[in-house]
Subunit: 145 residues, 2 copies
DNA sequence: TGCTAATTGCAACAATATTACAATTAACCT
DNA sequence: AGGTTAATTGTAATATTGTTGCAATTAGCA
């Protein structure tokens, strides 16, 4: 059973003329399972635990490709890469990152995006890409405390 | 003539019980002059050109401190550190970064911050810190083209 | 199945970041 | 002003992260 997010990502690779290789599928899988952001070396470690070896250079190249294709995204607050689950037609990425458990969720809000772009436009700035990260405590962690 | 932003930063250091050392003043100065984000090694290079040598370890430590005190900020889209010019009472940082000239401007919008926090709150997430980066083209660069 | 361009692995290296400990210095005190 | 001390910086060594060129491999296609 392959997750739909991965199916979609594979379709993107194909339609853009990129090969669907074993390493790419493996990285997609690891990113999809993780509910948090992973560094390239994290991904390597996880795969190695499963007896699969990928060279770190390969992982870097795959992650760069995924980011270019909007299949993954780099986050600053968590210092790694995440699998994107939402379409990014607006070039707008929003993440909620829990500083307790590291869990990361992606959310979308078109209105907010538009508003943000408009504000920038007011000072003559044309936005091509927008990134928003909120660092805090998720509902699960705040319940536990 | 010392820039007011630096004066303010020095005051923050003092009131928080940190020493106002030569290295800290130098890093503050370099960050303030730059209209774009600088990596720790960028800062070292710039100072060296002026005949001032700072160890990179020192620069890292200073930058960490500045970030903790909200005097500087790390940006993902530009991959370096910037001097903050606005008060960050809300723990909310917004930057416009030009992908042509690298220029970076900080802006504030309380309403946007509140709205963003509220949206997160709807899914039980409590925001402590928020980061927003818009990558695009500044007015100067779009005129030139 | 064989061909070919795309992709991966490898090796070497470059850049970035951290740690422990010794040397220095800013801020405070008479 | 000069001495004291805790905070800060420098040094050295090391760890981590990221990049490049080139040879080996493989996915996708005829």
């Amino acid at each position: 059973m392959i997750a739909p997010v991965i199916q979609d990502s594979i379709r993107v690779l194909q339609t853009q003329g990129y090969k669907v290789t074993k390493p790419r599928r493996q990285v997609l899988g690891v990113l999809e399972e993780a509910q948090k952001s992973l560094s390239p070396y994290d991904i390597q470690r996880i795969l190695r635990q499963r007896g699969k070896y990928l060279n770190h250079v390969t992982i870097y190249r795959i992650l760069h490709l995924f980011c270019r294709l909007n299949l993954a995204h780099k986050v600053l607050s968590a210092g790694g890469f995440v699998k994107c689950v939402l379409d990014k037609k607006e070039g707008c990425h929003r993440f909620l990152i829990c500083r307790c458990c590291g869990t990361l969720q992606e959310f979308a809000d078109d209105e907010l995006c538009q508003h943000e772009k408009k504000l920038a436009q007011n000072s003559g700035f044309h936005t091509e890409y927008h990134l928003s990260e909120s660092l805090g405590i998720c509902s699960d962690c705040s319940k536990k405390q």
